[in-house]
Amino acid sequence: MRNLFIFFILFLLSACGKRIVDNTPLESNWLLPLVKGNISLNDLSRLEGTTFDYVITPAQINQPTNTPVSSPAFTVDFIGPFTVPTQDIIKYLKVDSIELGIHLKNIFPVNIQSGFTVTLRSSDNTASSSNVLFSKTFSNAIAAQSQDSLPLSIHNVTIADSLYFYIENLNIDAFNQVVFNENVPVQFTIDKVRLNELAFFPNKNFSISDTVEFSSGDLSSIYDAGGNTLADSAVSGFLNLFTDNGLPVNLRMQMTFLKNNLPVDSVFENSFILNGAGVDAAGIPNSIDAKKNSVAIRKVKLKNIESCDRMIYSFSINTDGYTSPQVIMGKQNKLALQIVSDIALMLNPFQL
């Protein structure tokens, strides 16, 4: 009996342990894929909607300005060239199809008869027929002070580093005592584009940079999430950028934030640099460059960005380091991109 009593006393005492107080914050780490996608030659379809604006001056149809003139009907052999801007990094591009819209507003006080031709040439020589990439004759007549849109479909052409449009065999009706005092606007719109191949010269560079207005909004909900009490300099996470670059070009990107026109912070510590894919002797990609870039998310960075009002973005592609005569980007080559957040939060479950 006595032993039994002792057993129960010991059992009760063993249960009387003091409650352990452990206020260690719960650290929560989340790996979340945010964005993914591929950039390839087909993404040049993003050029759709791009416009090129030109004008036809009275002089190009051999008429003076601001002077009443009369003339019988006549034909202008060609008007142009309307030069399409290209980049010197591009050696050639093989077009599967391009659909263009030509928007012409005939402000001239004369009628344009049907039968004019739009010609795309690889050089600015109208005497040659060997440089004609494409031509189409339109049956549209465009009366004075009217406008028309002319569709143009181009298939299976190879465009080198120069491209010129011409309007040829423009037939003008007779006119009597009219005054030419305005230019005729001509707008080329890329409605649809499909490319088969794009070749670049080695060791060339193409850059885009611009400054735009910027407002991040209130970022405190991010850097104070879950009662985050981290110091400003502490790293609360990373944005990991995973890339598999199968495109034979090097890429560089940076976004710099300005406050009162002075740089305050940038997205990347240094520029985001992607090396191009490896190529064979003919310039055809034969290996993929896989890379991981990490952007540390610091509270101080978010605060800096929050205070900025302008942003400079810069993007460039180059073919530095390639030794082949050209590097060729086919339809099958792509840049696979994925952004994964690796965020550490000090959780306060009472606020979840």
Binding site: F11, D22, V35, P349
Partner: protein, 456 residues
């Protein structure tokens, strides 16, 4: 997220203990009620007949947190304390097991009559008829569920975890008949005769409602560096009896229900020495087959998330309505009621005292229990339970005892029972929940048995 935890907590804070009435098993004056665990226990504490009057046993518990911690959690929640007050949630997290179980149940006895058949004024056969109603609800979830919510998926990088709580519900009627017969056995290596009393209980089970998610899983895989997250739902939910329309007509529902089944409980009690009585029982063996109003909902879907695909239009981001496809079909299925093994022992201290000509008792008794389940399902757990108790008895008028144990669902517990007899009228209660009085942070459940009976 707090609501997920709250649901788990509410189930736990309702305070109940183990899935077995351990304290009641230490009470030799409630052996007719105990015979549902060991069929050979019938016929012991009454001379001719005992009629139980609506005894019930209510029990609820869990195996990972205490009611006090849940109270502290809600107290902290109300106070709106900051991240410096993490103690309650830290204790809950540290208490998580690989398999976490929450269980609640009610065993209501409608009829329980035991009587001893006598031949020439000697006990010939002990019989029992009983009708009971069981309502059991349980949930098993892996610790990864709460760890994922509070620690994030980086903790499980390159691992597959199952975070689906498996909810199981069973409501059934239980109509049984039991018989036991004591006889003597002479063994060559023993000087005294061995008193052996085997018992058997045959049960007709009427299933009313059931929900079974035992075979369902929701697997989450986080690829290295978080390159993708893959969720696989292997749904296999069987449900029956949750359509309220079917209860508008009760014709024959008592004995028909939505499913029927059979069970058998086996037990034997052996008096090895004058003062030592040992019992062995295998109980809750059986199953119920649900046929009417039974449905099986299945799904086998895998979804992989690699981030928003910027090559797709933004408005496709939320066009995911066809991701989860559930197939539902009428079915027929069987569910077990949860087999358990029990080894028990009682050792009388002092001299045996007589009550009349045919009954005797010990004033002081030490008792022992070992219970082992074979699966984590409803009132069954694979965690073995061991309990040691002491009882003091005076005739059939008074029996009081305390016991302590470890294992089972709630890991450790302290219990007590009391029995009062006033002539033929008997009253008693038992609980395993006294641990909370000693240390409220150690108590993970509560239970209560109450019985009244007429004994002749």
């Amino acid at each position: 997220m707090k609501y997920c935890l709250s649901i788990l907590s509410v189930l736990g804070v309702l305070l109940t203990h183990a899935q077995i009435n351990v304290s009641g098993l230490h009470n030799s004056e409630s052996d007719l009620e105990n015979s549902f665990y060991n069929a050979s226990m019938i016929g012991q504490e009454y001379r001719t007949m005992k009629i139980s009057l609506l005894p019930l046993y209510f029990h609820i518990g869990n195996n990972f947190t205490s009611a006090a911690d849940i109270y502290d959690y809600y107290r902290d929640l109300d106070k709106g304390l900051d991240a410096n007050s993490m103690s309650s949630i830290n204790r809950i997290m540290k208490g998580l097991k690989n398999k976490n179980q929450i269980y609640a149940g009610l065993d209501l006895t409608l009829v329980n009559i035991g009587f001893n058949l006598k031949v020439k004024k000697k006990k010939f056969l002990e019989l029992n008829f009983a009708a009971r109603e069981h309502l059991q609800a349980g949930m098993v979830f892996n610790k990864e569920l709460l760890y994922l919510m509070y620690k994030g998926n980086a903790y499980y990088e390159d691992q597959t975890i199952d975070i689906l709580p498996k909810v199981n519900v069973l409501q059934c009627g239980d109509f049984s008949v039991a018989a036991a017969k004591e006889f003597s056995l002479k063994l060559p290596f023993l000087k005294n005769l061995l008193s052996v009393k085997p018992g058997i209980r045959l049960r007709y089970l009427v299933g009313t409602a059931n929900l079974n998610m035992q075979n369902s899983s929701l697997s989450i895989y986080t690829a290295p560096e978080g390159r993708y997250i893959e969720a696989t739902l292997n749904g296999d939910v069987k449900a029956c009896g949750f359509d309220p329309d079917q209860y508008k007509s009760v014709d024959g529902a008592l004995f028909k229900g939505n499913g029927q089944g059979f069970g058998v409980d086996l037990g034997v009690t052996v008096k090895m020495l004058d003062k030592l009585e040992v019992g062995l029982a295998l109980f809750d063996n059986g199953s119920i087959t649900f046929k009417d109003n039974a449905y099986q909902i299945t799904s086998n879907e895998t979804v992989r998330w690699e981030g928003y695909d910027f090559n797709q239009p933004i408005d496709t981001l939320f066009e995911q309505s066809d991701l989860l496809e559930l197939d539902s079909a009428k079915t027929s299925y069987a569910v077990p009621i949860g087999s358990k093994l029990m080894l028990s022992g009682r050792y009388g201290l002092g001299k045996e005292k007589k009550i009349g000509k045919s009954q005797s008792y010990y004033a002081h008794t030490i008792s022992f229990l070992y219970i082992q389940g074979f699966r984590n399902y409803l009132n069954t757990t694979t965690s073995p339970l061991v309990s040691l108790g002491y009882s003091y008895q005076y005739r059939h008028a008074f029996n009081f005892g305390i016991n302590a144990g470890v294992g089972g669902l709630t890991r450790s517990f302290l219990g007590a029972h009391m029995h009062l007899g006033l002539g033929p009228v008997k009253f008693g209660f038992a609980t395993n929940s006294l641990g909370a009085i000693v240390n409220r942070y150690a108590s993970k459940g509560m239970d209560l048995q109450i019985y009244t009976a007429l004994s002749f």
